[in-house]
Symmetry: C2
Subunit: 150 residues, 2 copies
């Protein structure tokens, strides 16, 4: 029996995470969706660019370019992993109203704070997202710790 | 009578803000200080690079490169303006324990949230920081609104 079809935007975020993994980096991916269309794709660039701010969500938002305030307020941010404080803060800055999260078992950002600020947060608990992170954390605990300031 | 001497790190942040203004962009500057030494300097790059994530504080943290977790936990982040949700979240991610703010009259980020999370936030109420922002907001309300998602 086939598994249930995955949300295509979460699949695009997973594709980004896989691209990051293939580059020897952290397998977290993200897409920013506006009016049912992907306007920004991103994955963590810590290793590739020596960046400490280009988490997947930051990369996706950056790659979407300079949107209008009203665009962000209709957008949905997809991420394979529960967004950290930085990425959550970025969603709050631009008033992105909805975040769809692949999983929050291996890391959990300030989800309650986001909800208290009115953000709708949906956690899919996708086994592929969990598997990617579990394998990565086991293989590279040092790099993972660095990425979350630990 | 001369005005009282300014904290040299806040002066460095103001110098960054002035550099941004000279580039036709948003006059907000920041430095990251570690063990009484500037390890990262930055200013807002929205206009110069079309960046929606390179606020001054993000630029300073990014330019400091990949520090160790223990380094961030001894660092001080200086900014000419009260940090927004994104920049505040970045300080929380890396557990930067202290933030020195030029002013919070023209914009106020989530200062109470930062304090509730244990960050020591000091607001200098520096007239030069206020003047820079007041002039800029008057001249470019559109650009300023864009930078804070409004």
């Amino acid at each position: 029996m086939n598994p249930p079809a995955r949300d295509p935007f979460m699949q695009a975020a997973i594709d980004e995470a896989m691209a990051g993994l293939a580059e020897g980096s952290i397998p977290i991916g993200s897409v920013l969706v506006l009016d049912s269309r992907i306007v920004g794709r991103g994955h963590n660039r810590r290793v590739q660019r020596g960046s400490v701010i280009l988490h997947a969500e930051m990369d996706a938002v950056e790659n979407a370019g300079r949107l209008r305030a009203g665009d962000y307020r209709r957008a949905v941010l997809y991420s394979t992993l529960s967004p950290c404080e930085m990425c959550s803060g970025t969603a709050l800055l631009y008033k992105i109203p909805r975040i769809v999260v692949g999983e929050n078992r291996t890391f959990r950002g300030p989800e309650e704070y986001l909800r208290s600020r009115g953000v709708v947060l949906e956690v899919l608990d996708d086994p592929e997202c969990v598997r990617l992170m579990e394998q990565f954390i086991r293989a590279r605990p040092d790099l993972w710790g660095e990425d979350i300031g630990e």
